[in-house]
Amino acid sequence: MSDLLALSAAQLAERIRARELSREEVWDTYRERAAADDLNAFLWVAADAPDTGDGPLGGVPFAAKDLFCVRGVPSQAGSRILEGYRPPYTATAVEKIVAAGAPLLGKTNQDEFAMGSSNENSGYGPVLNPWDRTRVPGGSSGGSAAAVAAGQVPWAIGTDTGGSVRQPAALSGIVGLKPTYGAVSRYGMIAFASSLDQAGPLTRDVTDAALLFSVMTGRDPCDATSLEHPEAIRLPSAQDLQGVRLGVPDDVESAAGIEPGVLEAFRATVARAQELGAEVDTCSLPHARHGIAAYYVIAPAEASSNLARYDGVRYGLRVDGDDGLLAMYTRTRHEGFGAEVRRRIMLGTYALSSGYYEAYYGRAQRVRTKIADDFRAAFERFDFVVTPTSPGVAFPLGAKTDDPLAMYLNDFFTVPMPLAGIPAISIPNGLSEGLPTGFQIAGPAFSENRILDAAYALEQAIGFDTAAVHA
């Protein structure tokens, strides 16, 4: 039993293929752990194993963030406004994973409509960090991160808009990959901010991330913004970083709220990278520090529009009044949405409203151009840009809930990449004060194979024990 839990998803698939393990045994073990979830990581757990046939993922169960639509299965995006909503169709990313042979074990908790960095904004209660149950697991894919970290599921998928895969992966001590924008179809993913949202794997190790991503990616005729990845995704194998040029942004050390332990772990891994042959130098991304400002205009603006459809007419909650349509709309949306979602709808509506568009949305889109230009320039000198994933380790539940801006600043290192549409990975980078920290590697669009290779080489060098909390 514990042997089985110690295996990565790729190893499980290998054993199942070699008939050293049965699918039923793997399913039953994880089904039992997911059903016994005491972290509030799962919002729904499948009763029976669906037959997924033979495929490269070989019957290894996975979990999907609540916002992935699955036909006939509750898909609520962590919101009360969609409580009990069962869509008539399935998200492309989920369909592809199932078609590759992985059965869906459950749907995981998340910040409501993916708006949050702590998972405290879920309409279904916060998720606890398995490393310390008084702390948050990060967000918004906090349920997926906690479930993988706690060994309740071998691997999971989440979505990243401003860091929502990478940051909870870092705070929960696992791997999280945010692919190039368009590499994974968004069809069936309940939208937060359409120009930023991207689905990605949350896994125990880099190999699992590569394996899961390899079956998720691909152009989807149902998503006009999706693209065929120019390279087939390979399992990583690099043992060193010979000739790899790493750029460290010059403002990492002075970033707001950066904790000494996080910085120390980051410096140690940069030193390891040099030992593995990497050339390291500082790089300048002069506009990246404006990423938070641009992000907190663009994402809420798009969200204010994406969330207009929750109006009590076709699905979800309706709170009727006796005084007509307008009252039905405003009450439904007041009661259905949580405080943070309402705040962002307000912010986004304001930023798009007459007289403010150019000052906010227009300028933010121009800052976005400058951030993308900064990365383009950096990637002429460097293969990758590396940073800590999050300035701090997992914080106590409730520590930042009264200060939205302080919460937003958590995203400092993760926000610039989705603004530029480029891929980035977070890998476990040891502990600070007994809690996981993350190391982020970002590369140019469609450089996932090279990112995964570099991450794999560092992962071996760091030697983080992902199984620490499985017991």
Partner: protein, 94 residues
């Protein structure tokens, strides 16, 4: 800075009900975030094109070929209120 009147105007545009207490809290929270956002107003951005699509895809069009629609029962399955084979709503302007 955003004042009470603006908060109420925006809430109406967004079809959100706000209680008296929420109006003031929303005004102060949004003002704090907007103050931070204001930092981008210092940047020199003349002549910089806005990015609305981060990866240029070129046209991605769909062939004009019909696919089956949902059975009506499925279309209406999640509706909070149904009447006359349709989605029932309070009449606008009523």
């Amino acid at each position: 800075m955003i004042d009470r009147a603006e908060v109420l105007h925006v809430a109406r545009l967004a079809r959100l009900e706000l209680s008296e207490g929420e109006v003031d809290r929303m005004a102060s929270e949004l003002s704090a975030v907007l103050d931070h956002i204001e930092t981008i107003s210092e940047l020199e951005l003349d002549g910089v094109a806005p990015t609305s699509h981060v990866v240029e895809v070129g046209s991605a069009l769909r062939a004009d070929e019909p696919r089956p629609s949902l059975p009506r029962e499925e279309a209406l399955a999640s509706a909070p209120a149904v009447a006359a084979d349709g989605f029932e709503v309070p009449s606008p302007g009523a």
